[in-house]
C-alpha cells in the first residue's frame, strides 16, 4: 500500500474556491492515513505548480499523488504526465473531480459543496493507497480519418490530413461541397470570393489520392471506439451518369415542370427538380431532387444521361478517428419578428448576400430598385428572453462589409445600421471605419427597447429611440430591411445524436475545454471543428479545422494507441471453474485451463477490454478488475460514507 501520498487541492482561480472552502478541505484530509503532504494551489495545472509537484514527488519520494480539481476528462492526462516526469509511474496518480461534480453542481450550497469535496478527496486518497505501477496496453489504430461535412472546415481539414499522409473519407450530406462559404461572394476575411476559395480547395482536394469524397452521403450507423470506428455510409445517387452532355442536360433542366424554392439562394429564387447550385459548383454534375421529382419523364426524352433508377449504396468504412465539421444554420426569424414574413421587403442577411450577388448594375428586390437599406442587428442573437443568449460574432463584421460592398457595387445606396453596439473585433475595425467614412448612419438601442418595423401606406418604416443621441426618436423609410441573423446549430442534427456528442448551453457541440482542449470531445477519438462548435468566421473556422485535423491525426499517426491497462484478473485459488465468466465475456477473453490439479479460468490479456462484465457473475468472487478491486472500491465507499 502506498503510504507517502501527496494531495493538491485546486482553487481553479475561484471556479472551485468560490463555492468550496479549499483550506477546510486541506485540513480535513491532511491527517488521512498515508497522506504526508497536503497543499492548496490557485491553478494546479499551471506550469509553476506542475514544476512544484515534480520537485515534491522527487524530494519527498511520494508513491501516490492526488489532485482535486476539474473533471479528469480535462486534466487527468496532465497530472499523469507530471508524475511520469518525476519518475513515478502514472498509474500511481488518482484524480478527484471537485469542480464539475462539486463546486459547479452545488454552487447553491457552499457548506454542502465543501463537505462533498472532503468526501470525494478522501475517496481518491483511499483509492491511491492501493494504486500500483502498470504498463499501458497497446492497440492497433486504423490510419484513416472520417470527416463529416465538406464545407470549408471539412475541406481544409481533409487537405491538411492528406498532406500529412493520412487517408481521409470526406462525407458530405449535400450533393455539392463548399457548405455556406460557397454561397457567399465577397468575404470580409479574404480578398478571394467564397466561390474562388471553394474552387481552389476543391482543385487541391481532388489532387490527393488519399482523399475519398462522398456527396449525398450520410452515416447511418457506427460501432467501435477510438482507433477502431466502423461507419456505415449511405450514399444517395445523383440520378445522372458521369458521362453527361452539358447541352442536353440544360435542355432537360429547361423542360422540367417542377419549380421549387432554391435553398442555395435562401429561397429568393426558384430552381427545377434537376438543378445545379451555380456554374462553379463541385462536383460539376447536377442532381435530380427525387423528393420533389414527379417522374413525368420529360427530361428522359431529351437527355440520356439521366437515370431515375439509380439506387442508394451502402458502404462500410473503417477509421481511427472522426472529425466533425457539420457547420451551422442561419437563424430563421419567427413570423412577425421585425416584420419578417409579414412585410414583403424584410429579408435576412444571408438572403441579402445572395441578392447582391445575383444583381448587377442595379439592386432590385420585388421589382423595385433599392436605395435605402436598414440593417437590424442581433436578430436571433443576444436574446434576453429567447434561447440564443450568445453573440454570433461574425454578423456585425459581415453586415458592415456587405454594406460597404453594396455601396461600391450599386449607385446611390444609403445604409442605416440599427445596432445594439458594434462588435467588429480586431482588424475588422477597419471595415467599420470605412463604413463611417462612406457616410453610413449608425443608430443604437438596448435590448429592452428594440427598433420597430411597421408598414404604413405601403411604406416600410423603422423606428428607434437612439441611445447615441439621448434616446431621440428617429424613423427611417427603408426600401429594404435586412435582419442581421446569427448562427444557430443545425436543425437536422441526427449525426450529433448518433455519436451522442455533448452540446453546450448554446446547443452547439461542446469541446472538453475551450482553451486547453478546444477541438476534443468527451467521446474519445471524435474531434470538432468549424461552426458546428459555435459561431465562427471563415478564418476562425479554418483555424479550428487545422487544429482538429492535427488532433485527429495524433490518434492515428502511429498506427497504435495506448489504452488503460485495465483488465480482469483471476484469483486461481478461489476459482472453481463454473464457466459463468466465459459465458458473459463479449470478447471471448476467458478460457478454461487445467494444471493437473484443478480447472480454472484464465484471462487472455491481449483480448480483455476491461469492461468487468465477468465480475458480478462469479459465484466465488474470484475475479477483480485492475484499479477496481474490492479493496479499492470498498475503501472508497468507506471514505464516502463517513459522517
Amino acid at each position: 500500500m502506498n503510504n507517502n501520498i501527496g494531495v493538491y487541492i485546486c482553487h481553479c482561480g475561484g471556479n472551485i474556491s468560490d463555492y468550496v472552502d479549499v483550506e477546510k478541505v486541506k485540513q480535513a484530509i491532511a491527517t488521512e492515513e498515508g497522506v504526508t503532504l497536503a497543499k492548496t494551489t490557485i491553478f494546479a495545472c499551471a506550469d509553476s505548480n506542475q514544476k512544484e509537484m515534480v520537485e515534491d514527488i522527487r524530494q519527498q519520494h511520494l508513491n501516490g499523488v492526488v489532485v482535486a480539481s476539474c473533471s479528469p476528462k480535462l486534466h487527468q492526462i496532465t497530472f499523469r504526465a507530471v508524475t511520469e516526469r518525476a519518475g513515478l509511474n502514472k498509474y500511481n496518480y488518482v484524480h478527484a473531480n471537485i469542480r464539475e461534480q462539486v463546486s459547479w453542481a452545488h454552487s447553491d450550497n457552499k457548506p454542502g459543496a465543501t463537505e462533498k469535496a472532503i468526501h470525494i478527496v478522501k475517496a481518491a486518497i483511499a483509492k491511491v493507497r492501493y494504486a500500483k505501477s502498470l504498463d499501458p496496453i497497446i492497440i492497433q489504430s486504423q490510419k484513416a480519418v472520417a470527416i463529416i461535412g465538406a464545407g470549408i472546415a471539412g475541406m481544409k481539414a481533409a487537405i491538411q490530413l492528406a498532406n500529412m499522409g493520412c487517408p481521409v473519407y470526406l462525407i458530405e450530406r449535400e450533393y455539392f461541397v463548399g457548405g455556406r462559404v460557397a454561397q457567399w461572394d465577397s468575404l470580409s476575411t479574404s480578398s478571394e470570393t467564397g466561390k474562388q476559395i471553394i474552387t481552389r480547395l476543391y482543385q487541391e482536394l481532388i489532387k490527393h489520392n488519399t482523399i475519398t469524397l462522398f456527396t449525398g452521403a450520410e452515416i447511418s450507423s457506427y460501432s467501435g471506439s477510438i482507433g477502431d470506428f466502423h461507419l456505415k455510409v449511405n450514399i444517395k445517387p445523383r440520378y445522372i451518369n458521369q458521362q453527361c452532355n452539358e447541352g442536353g442536360l440544360q435542355k432537360a433542366i429547361d423542360v422540367c415542370p417542377v419549380i421549387l424554392p432554391d435553398e442555395f439562394n435562401f429561397n429568393i429564387t426558384n430552381r427545377k427538380a434537376i438543378y445545379h447550385n451555380f456554374p462553379s459548383e463541385y462536383p460539376q454534375l447536377p442532381v435530380v431532387d427525387m423528393v420533389h421529382c414527379n417522374r413525368c419523364g420529360e427530361c428522359l426524352k431529351i437527355c440520356g444521361a439521366i437515370d431515375l433508377d439509380q439506387k442508394d449504396e451502402l458502404l462500410d468504412i473503417h477509421v481511427g478517428s472522426i472529425l466533425m465539421a457539420t457547420g451551422f444554420d442561419p437563424y430563421t426569424p419567427i413570423d412577425g419578428e421585425f416584420g419578417y414574413n409579414q412585410i414583403n421587403n424584410v429579408i435576412t442577411l444571408p438572403q441579402f448576400q445572395r441578392l447582391i450577388n445575383l444583381n448587377e448594375k442595379k439592386l432590385i428586390f420585388n421589382e423595385k430598385e433599392i436605395r435605402h437599406i436598414a440593417y437590424i442587428y442581433c436578430v436571433g442573437s443576444r436574446q434576453p428572453e429567447g434561447e440564443n443568449k450568445y453573440c454570433s460574432r461574425y454578423c456585425c463584421t459581415t453586415t458592415i462589409h456587405i454594406a460597404n460592398v453594396t455601396r461600391r457595387k450599386f449607385k446611390e445606396i444609403n445604409n442605416y445600421h440599427f445596432t445594439r453596439g458594434v462588435r467588429t473585433y480586431g482588424k475588422q475595425e477597419t471595415l467599420y471605419r470605412e463604413s463611417l467614412a462612406n457616410g453610413d448612419v449608425f443608430l443604437q438601442s438596448y435590448e429592452d427597447d428594440l427598433p420597430v418595423v411597421t408598414s404604413e401606406d405601403g411604406k416600410t418604416i423603422v423606428k428607434i429611440n437612439d441611445i447615441l443621441t439621448m434616446k431621440k426618436s428617429m424613423e427611417i423609410e427603408a426600401d429594404l430591411v435586412v435582419l442581421v441573423t446569427g448562427m444557430v446549430p443545425r436543425a437536422e442534427n441526427s449525426i450529433g445524436a448518433l455519436f451522442k456528442l455533448p452540446k453546450g448551453r448554446d446547443k452547439f457541440f461542446n469541446e472538453i475545454h475551450m482553451k486547453l482542449r478546444p477541438v476534443e470531445t468527451v467521446i474519445d477519438g471524435i474531434t470538432i471543428s468549424g461552426a458546428c462548435q459555435g459561431p465562427k468566421n471563415v478564418t476562425e473556422a479554418i483555424n479550428s479545422a487545422l487544429s482538429a485535423a492535427t488532433k485527429s491525426f495524433s490518434y492515428v499517426s502511429k498506427g497504435e494507441l495506448e489504452l488503460e491497462p485495465i483488465i480482469a484478473r483471476i484469483e486461481k485459488d478461489a476459482c472453481t471453474w463454473c464457466g459463468a465468466c466465459a459465458n458473459v465475456c463479449p470478447y471471448d477473453a476467458i478460457r478454461i485451463e487445467n494444471d493437473g490439479q484443478k480447472e480454472y479460468a484464465v484471462i487472455n490479456n491481449a483480448v480483455c477490454k476491461g469492461c468487468g462484465m465477468c465480475l458480478p457473475v462469479c459465484p466465488t468472487d474470484a475475479i477483480d478488475l485492475t484499479a477496481y478491486s474490492n479493496s479499492e472500491i470498498e475503501s472508497m465507499i468507506d471514505a464516502l460514507a463517513q459522517d
Binding site: W104, G112, A123, V522, G612, L615, P616, I637, L640
Partner: protein, 135 residues
C-alpha cells in the same frame, strides 16, 4: 428552507467513465443543481458492478444506491443493458435477504448528454429516500 440547511439523503452513484460521467460533468457545467449528498464512484461499465459493493454501501450507511447505467450506448456492447439488469435483480434478492428495502437500489440509463435526466433522477430518488426513511 435554505438549501444549506435542507436535509438530504445519502446516495452513492455508480457512474461509467465514458457514458454517464460526461453527463454528470455536464450537469455541473450547466449549473443544474442536485442534492449535495450524491457521491459518485466511476467504473468502466455498469455491468461490472459487484453486488457486494452495493451491499457494502448500505452497510456503511448509504440511504440509496443509483446505477447510472450505460444502456444501449455502452462501448463494450449491447449486452450491457441486459447484464446490468441481471446484476440489479441479483442484488435486489440479496437486499431482501439482508432486510434492505430493494427500492433503495435504482438503475436508469444515463447517456453522455443526459444531464437533465440525471438531475431529475437524483431529485426524485432523494425525495423518495427521505419520504421512506425512518428518521
Amino acid at each position: 428552507m435554505a438549501e444549506g440547511t435542507r436535509k438530504h439523503a445519502k446516495i452513492l452513484v455508480f457512474s461509467t467513465e465514458k457514458i454517464s460521467d460526461p453527463a454528470i460533468d455536464m450537469a455541473g457545467l450547466l449549473k443544474l443543481h442536485y442534492p449535495p449528498k450524491v457521491l459518485t464512484i466511476s467504473i468502466p461499465c455498469s455491468s461490472g458492478i459487484k453486488p457486494r459493493w452495493i451491499l457494502h454501501a448500505f452497510r456503511k450507511g448509504f440511504d440509496g444506491v443509483f446505477i447510472a447505467a450505460d444502456g444501449s450506448d455502452c462501448p463494450y456492447g449491447e449486452s450491457c443493458t441486459e447484464k446490468t439488469g441481471k446484476l440489479v435483480n441479483t442484488t435486489h434478492d440479496l437486499m431482501k435477504e439482508n432486510n434492505i428495502e430493494p427500492a433503495r437500489l435504482r438503475m436508469a440509463a444515463i447517456c453522455s448528454v443526459c444531464s437533465e435526466s440525471f438531475v431529475k433522477q437524483m431529485k426524485s430518488f432523494n425525495e423518495y429516500l427521505l419520504l421512506h426513511s425512518n428518521n
